[in-house]
Amino acid sequence: MSDRKSDLPGGRFVRWLNQDQDVLERQMIAAQNREPDSDEEMEEAWRRERFLEDQKEEEVVASRLEALNERKVPVIGRVVYMLGCMLICIAMIMLLLYTVTTLPGFGGEIDPAQNEVPRRYIEQGLQETGALNIVTGMILDYRAFDTLGESTVLFAAAMVVLFLLRLDPESNRYSTLAASIREEPYADTFYEPKNDSILQHTAKILTPVAFLLGIYVVLNGHLTPGGGFSGGAIVGAGLVLHVTAFGFEDIRRFFTYRTYQRTVVTALLTYAFSKTYSFYTGANGIESIIPLGMPGAILSGGLILLLNICVGFIVTCTVYVLYAVFRKGDV
């Protein structure tokens, strides 16, 4: 049956879309199914070999470190380095302090920074973006691609941290690093207090407040101080507080690595496409279908509310994921 399906034009694409099987994955599975036993053995052997290699390397490093600790540090090089650093630092302080004396006065109105760009944002911002908060109108409307790049940087940083610190769940047997983090007596989290009642009672009171405040700040980003970044950080702090008090089991039920990936990618794509539409219509003089609304109402400001929610999701998930990865090496 699957053969007939693949004869159709685009059949592979449809299968991939339905998540039946990845095209490459199917080939890999076919290759694995041929001789399963020998493959497994080979992988086992490879893992064991790598584990032994790692152990040997670690011993070598440890012995070298011991030798380094015993060796006398060359004092002269250190002194020269310190003197050079002092010179650089003093030169830098002098230069920067001199620059401060040439700056225009603090809080002055006649200042090269107060040019026509902020004037335009302040005088026309409300009419053009529909947001009472001029800063939000600026970063999510005029400079929306800047903010998209920012969110992408955050996502990329979280992915790299995951890449560096995530522990393969299957590597427990052979990786000393995984074992030292996971196995109880050596684990970093072993001596942490568990079921601390003061913390738990505080968290019970504070977590809902943090969530509500964060959601309020996200949704009112175009009317009051705040927005997706600050509100997302508050909600993320609430999640971290809950995890510190009650452990990871609760949150793992609905938030895993896969949820993180999907949420953030969906939010980034929504952001990118909706803003592309708005820039496209704006640049070509086409009437946009998104109304600006009454200034001051919650449903106003065109796309800004949607973009704030997207950014809020990204920041919340990233704050929580960074905490979880640093604490236990997994989401």
Binding site: R64, L65, F106
Partner: protein, 124 residues
């Protein structure tokens, strides 16, 4: 000169903070202290930017009462730039700390000189 420093006191504080962070990065061999120094440099830049946008007697740039003139509000651009800076600084600190953790697990020390010595002899 002193009167100028006193007049621009926020910029002076930002510059001093920047230099403290910079010298922390140069004088400390510990990687975590270097990261703390870098974060202090970041914070000093935010202070500098925010003070550049401030105008005496003007309010935060949120339209109240329909007033829309540059007489009423401070410069909104540095605020937006500081927001960008904070987010990127968070990402960079997280990345640096993750790399330090990896280095510690590999070499069992956070001393940069020792790490360099260990890697140098490995190549030879």
């Amino acid at each position: 000169m002193f009167s100028k420093w006193l007049m621009n006191y926020e910029e002076t504080a930002a510059v001093i903070l920047f230099c403290i962070g910079f010298s922390m990065m140069l004088f400390n061999r510990n990687l975590i202290k270097k990261i703390i120094g870098m974060d202090m440099m970041d914070s000093s830049i935010y202070l500098f930017l925010a003070s550049q946008g401030y105008i005496e007697g003007h309010k935060a740039p949120i339209v109240t009462g329909g007033v829309q003139s540059t007489e009423a509000y401070i410069n909104p651009i540095p605020s937006g730039l500081v927001l960008t800076g904070i987010v990127v600084a968070v990402s960079v600190s997280a990345l640096m700390m993750a790399l330090s953790i990896r280095l510690y697990h590999r070499y069992h020390t956070l001393d940069l000189d020792k790490i360099v010595a260990l890697t140098g002899r490995e190549e030879a």
